[in-house]
């Protein structure tokens, strides 16, 4: 899909208006020298004072009109360019919310931010420049050649050939500068890289006493960049002088040939200057346009990056037709049935043939080393990824037949990384359920062991939260994030390694409170610490995507060697 042409088509009226206004601006600009010619030929040379005055008034009118049209044109171009940015940004924001977590992470947060902010701003600016400076260029070439032809076809030929000379010069320079520019970009990236390394690695650099080595390393990056820049500057140094030379030559030729024509009575004296003005104005417009054209490759790259994202199909989609909800009657809150999942393009599945059941009120724990797939398991239940085979049932309904909104409303999840949004505490907590009462919020905070410190805040639930929740400590954030999940009236709660930021005592108190007060929903705890999950009703042991053990702590200690290894690595067995 081509988003730029689509946009222009969508706003056909505005686009056409903009071009027309540019035409008006160009004609207004060129009329002035034409009027000067009239003043000279009919007024000054014929000695008619009234003509001089009359033409002066005409010039005044043209000036005011042209200025008005130009200002209007500026408004039209700014409007169109800013609108393009707004619409692209809306589309991108919308897309960002539709993409799956995996698709989003493949692009990366920082790249997503750059695309939504500076890439689009860059496009806005470039589009404005193009509309304002490049669009008038062909218009003025045509109009001025037309006006020159009316004066004298010979002059038009002269003007045409000089315009062609200028254009070919511009083409040569642009082509040469293109490769230099892209190599300059890589060198600039290199500078960024080196500086970032020398700042983030400052401790290591100093620990190894390698300061002077680092200086040399960055010095090399700076120098190679400077060398290239100087080469580019020297290339562009040719432009101005050549343009001046062309203009000088043009003036000389017009004067010489024009003079001859004047003597031959096929042209008036005043028209020599008029034609000179037409040509120099055209050249000036062309040079401005060429300068803008040098920024196009960069804007093109921005547009490509956006297109790539906008063309991506979301990996996780709601079933399009209203599906038959095959609900099986079952006691299970969640059922995994022969579930296999692998990331797109990966050779090995992350989870393989997984089957287990969560019952209401029970606590199920998942343990395994990093890379064993335990967090992925939670993601699958939340349908952040789609599985390749098998099925997952939520209270007897296949996940794929539920809309994502409906599904996630029924699952309370505490993600690994506690992230809060700017706003107030209450706003954050109510993300779980909009209509939760204050008392319900306090109850959630109580279970999450967060009541005490929230009570101590002078604004209580109305306390402000900074972006990312940075005005709370890691442990506090984690507890608030737990409370936020508990506010939901969920059938299932998932705690994805949510207790690791808590100290051992709070961890224990929280689990006790959960056990006592969250009785109905099924609980799924993903953990690294064996001590956190010892008392779970059911423990699932994952190893390289396989379920290698299922049972209680005692059972697993006896019959599951992976579990025993994990337990051993964390604590000396009591008998040892």
């Amino acid at each position: 899909m081509n988003y730029l042409t689509d946009f222009l088509k969508r706003h056909k009226g505005k686009t056409v208006l903009t071009v027309l206004l540019m035409l008006g601006q160009v004609v207004g600009t060129l009329l002035i020298p034409a009027l000067v010619a009239t003043m000279v030929d009919r007024g000054i040379l014929l000695g008619d004072g009234n003509v001089i005055l009359g033409t002066g008034v005409q010039m005044l009118v043209v000036t005011v009109l042209a200025a008005g049209i130009s200002v209007w044109g500026s408004w039209a171009t700014s409007d169109l360019a800013a609108l393009f940015g707004r619409e692209m940004r809306s589309m991108l924001l919308k897309k960002s919310q539709e993409l799956s977590i995996q698709q989003f992470d493949t692009v990366g947060i920082s790249s997503m931010i750059t695309r939504t902010t500076s890439d689009i701003t860059n496009l806005q600016r470039t589009m404005g420049m193009v509309l304002q400076m490049v669009v008038p260029a062909p218009i003025i070439v045509m109009v001025s050649i037309l006006m020159t032809t009316m004066v004298s076809p010979v002059m038009a030929v002269i003007q045409l050939s000089f315009t062609a000379a200028l254009l070919s010069l511009a083409a040569v320079i642009l082509k040469k500068s293109h490769s230099l520019s892209s190599s300059i970009q890589t060198r600039l990236d290199r500078i960024n890289q080196v500086v970032r390394e020398s700042v983030t690695g400052v401790r290591v650099i100093r620990a190894f006493g390698n300061e002077s080595y680092e200086e040399k390393r960055s010095g090399r990056a700076y120098e190679s960049y400077a060398d290239n820049m100087i080469r580019l500057n020297r290339l562009f140094a040719v432009v101005n002088p050549v343009v001046w030379l062309l203009m000088g030559a043009l003036m000389a030729v017009i004067l010489g040939v024009g003079g001859t024509l004047v003597l031959g009575a096929s042209m008036a004296v005043g028209q020599i200057t008029a034609v000179t003005e037409y040509s120099t104005l055209t050249m000036a417009y062309l040079i401005m346009a060429a300068a803008v054209l040098t920024t196009l490759p960069k804007a093109g790259a921005c547009l490509r990056r956006l297109r790539e994202l906008l063309d991506t199909k979301p990996a996780v989609l709601d079933a399009s037709h209203c599906p038959r909800k095959d609900t099986f009657k079952t006691d299970a809150a969640v059922e995994f049935d022969q579930v296999t999942f692998s990331y797109h393009g990966a050779e090995e599945p992350v989870l393989c043939n997984l089957s287990f059941t969560l019952y209401p009120g029970q606590t199920t724990a998942v343990i395994g080393s990093t890379g064993s797939g335990k967090s992925t398991l939670a993601d699958l239940l939340l349908r952040l990824h789609d599985i390749q085979s098998g099925r997952i049932l939520l209270a007897g309904t296949d996940l794929c037949t539920l809309s994502q909104l409906e599904l996630r409303a029924r699952i309370g999840c505490v993600p690994q990384k506690a992230f809060l949004f700017s706003g107030t505490l209450a706003e954050n907590l109510r993300m779980g359920r909009k209509d939760a009462t204050d008392e319900e919020l306090w109850e959630a905070l109580r279970i999450a062991q967060a009541e005490d410190f929230v009570r101590r805040l002078s604004l209580g639930l109305k306390a402000p939260v900074a972006q990312g929740g940075t005005n709370f400590s890691g442990g506090q954030r984690q507890r608030l994030s737990i409370a936020r999940a508990l506010v939901k009236k969920a059938d299932v709660f998932i705690f994805d390694d949510s207790f690791s930021a808590l100290d051992v005592k709070t961890d224990a108190a929280l689990r006790r409170a959960l056990h006592q007060r969250v009785t109905k929903p099924a609980k799924l705890i993903i953990a690294q610490r064996v001590s956190t999950i010892m008392d779970a009703d059911q423990i699932l042991v994952l190893d390289k995507g396989q379920l290698v053990g299922k049972g209680t702590h005692q059972q697993l200690l006896e019959c599951c060697c992976v579990y025993r290894d994990i337990a051993d690595s964390q604590m000396q067995r009591k008998e040892a």
Partner: protein, 602 residues
């Protein structure tokens, strides 16, 4: 960050223009000759350019004269040639001279800005190595990076384009004004009035534009902040079905940015036609008045034509100058920030002594007092003696000061009181570099730079042979995995897609420390993000590395430090308990409860 941007309103306005400009000029003084040549070339080129309208005017006058006296239509070309050869030649020559000189100027100036920024960049790099670590705690990486790139880019752009433009604008205006005064003082008066009006208008409009830019920046800052938040919290947004709420709050800011951007760009574009129209009023007045004067015979047609061209010549530079000044301001503000960085207080000068005496690794802390900020003392009075080859483990809650001890030993921060000495020598008496080279350090976050694996391992000993590097890698248990990489030791580690896991990177940093063969070793044991098998390997490698050296281990897992010679429990900046594993268990204090809590069931 986004908030800060909003508050700052406009970061393109310098605080102290005069001082910064003076300093910039001082630096430019190094390129005095080049600048002098460039300015001279500009001057002459502008002078030659000024001749053009005169020559055209001359041509027109003689054309008018010839056409009036002329009646033989058979020899048009000869007549034209006779009347016009002088002005045409003059035009050609002055255009040629002006063009050549302008090339000379551009060619010279091509390197001035880059050399200026190159020297500033090198100074920044050198400065970064002399700044105390405090500076890096208080400043974001991105800020430092934008000093080196964005800010200096602005400076070089202005040196390359803005400044030459400004200089040639000034010369063009001066020459044109001089010539106009010479041609007709009365007409010039008209031009002057219109010039004053349009200059005043330019000033006014550009303050309006500035305001629009400021608002645009603020709107963009707010939008960026919101977008950063939504993207960072992407997972939570999905889990709590907040997509629609987030989108509508972002859309609101997007609309605001749209309006601000439209205004800013409109101000940017509309300024030209407005000013041009004002300039044209002067042009029209000149034309009418000049026409009247020509009728009266007090001025020739060619003179008026030339005059009108001068009016055009000066009205462009006047508008341009207003714009150059804005970009000049932004560049000065950038340079100012660079100078602020260069003026930051540096580390205390190095001691005179030599670090060669560090062989044993006998470390003593005596009455050490320290705080990261003057108003908050973290370590009040710390005493510690570590004998050669001892292994010291440091445990305690986060923020208690474990890493601080190590930072002080490395002299990353200066003490507020007391002293630290190694093998009887005060660490402040030795040059930092040499002293630190005798201490090996493996940090929690594995810092590797973009370069080959062998370069990274040899980071502490640049002249290491391949054999030494391989030996170190073997000792750190990473030889095997390095060999599985497509290019082995010559594999280039890049920021992201290197195919090297976090744990493997940690192993590489251990190999790096091994190669330097230090007397003292500091290990920030960080294995929480690594799977158990790699963790075992890392621990084995670390144990091998510690053999026969004094070592400090910041421990996160108690299981690994039970055989330490000395365990320090650091809490609130103090060593609250010290002793061997057995002793501390018997003591029944913090360590004991920490140890037992590992096994506690809920």
């Amino acid at each position: 960050m986004a908030k800060k941007k909003r508050d700052m309103h406009n970061e393109d306005v310098p605080q102290n223009t005069k001082a910064t400009v003076k300093r910039l000029l001082g630096r430019l003084g190094r390129q005095k000759k080049k600048l002098f040549a460039a300015v001279t070339a500009t001057l002459l080129s502008c002078a030659a350019f000024t001749v053009l309208p005169l020559a055209v005017g001359m041509g027109i006058d003689s054309l008018v004269a010839v056409s009036r006296s002329y009646d033989d239509f058979s020899q048009i070309i000869q007549a034209a040639a006779q009347a016009l050869w002088v002005p045409v030649l003059l035009i050609g020559v002055s255009a040629l001279v002006s063009g050549l000189l302008s090339y000379v100027q551009q060619y010279i100036i091509a390197s001035v800005g880059e050399e200026l920024t190159l020297s500033l960049r090198n100074d920044i790099s050198a400065k970064l190595n002399r700044l105390p670590l405090r500076y890096f705690d208080a400043h974001k990486t991105g800020d430092v990076m934008s000093r080196v790139t964005n800010d200096l880019e602005k400076v070089s752009a202005v040196m390359q384009e803005g400044l030459p433009q400004l200089i040639s604008a000034v010369f063009t205006i001066l020459f044109a004004v001089g010539t106009m005064l010479f041609l007709s003082p009365l007409l010039f008066l008209v031009v002057l009035i219109s010039l004053i009006i349009s200059t005043a208008a330019t000033g006014y409009v550009s303050t309006l534009a500035q305001r629009a830019y400021g608002e645009n920046q603020a709107a963009m800052g707010a939008l960026t902040g919101k977008i950063e938040e939504i993207y960072a919290g992407n997972r939570v947004v999905k889990l709590f079905n907040q997509q629609q709420a987030m989108l509508s709050s972002a859309e609101e800011l997007n609309q605001r940015q749209f309006l601000a951007q439209r205004n800013a760009q409109f101000a940017d574009f509309a300024i030209y036609p407005t000013i041009r129209a004002l300039g044209q009023l002067g042009f029209i007045a000149t034309a009418v008045l000049g026409g009247g004067m020509a009728l009266g015979g007090s001025i020739t047609l060619g003179t008026i034509q030339a005059f009108l061209q001068y009016v055009n010549q000066i009205s462009e530079p006047v508008t341009e100058a207003a714009y150059v000044i804005t970009s000049l301001q932004a560049a000065i503000a950038g340079a100012e920030r660079v100078f602020t960085l260069l003026d930051e207080e540096e580390e205390r000068p190095n001691g005179e002594g030599s670090a060669n005496a560090i062989t044993q690794g006998h470390v003593t802390f005596e009455n050490v007092r320290f705080g990261y900020t003057p108003d908050r003392v973290l370590i009040k009075n710390l005493n510690l003696e570590v004998r050669p080859n001892e292994m010291v483990a440091i445990v305690g809650p986060t923020g208690g000061g474990k890493t601080t001890l190590v930072n002080l030993l490395m002299r990353f921060y200066e003490l507020d009181g007391g002293s630290i000495s190694i093998d009887g020598q005060d660490i402040t008496a030795m040059p930092r570099c040499e002293m630190r080279r005798r201490i090996g350090m493996v940090l929690q976050d594995a810092w590797l730079f973009e370069g080959t694996i062998s370069e990274n391992i040899a980071y502490g000993k640049q002249d290491a042979t391949r054999e030494e590097i391989v030996a170190a890698a073997k000792a750190a248990c990473c030889d095997h995995f390095i060999r599985t990489l497509p290019k082995g030791y010559d594999t280039i580690l890049t920021g992201e897609a290197a195919g090297v896991s976090q744990g493997q990177m940690q192993l590489l940093t251990i190999a790096r420390a091994m190669l330097t063969d230090p007397a003292i070793l500091i290990l920030d044991e960080a294995t929480s993000s690594v799977d158990t098998r790699t963790e075992m390997e890392i621990q084995k490698a670390m144990a091998r590395l510690m053999r026969g050296r004094t070592s400090f281990v910041i421990a996160h897992r108690l299981s690994t430090i039970q055989n330490a010679d000395l365990i320090l429990v650091v809490k609130d900046g103090d060593i609250v308990e010290r002793g061997s594993h057995a002793q501390l268990l018997q003591l029944g204090g913090f360590y004991a409860s920490l140890y037992h809590s590992q096994f506690e069931a809920a």
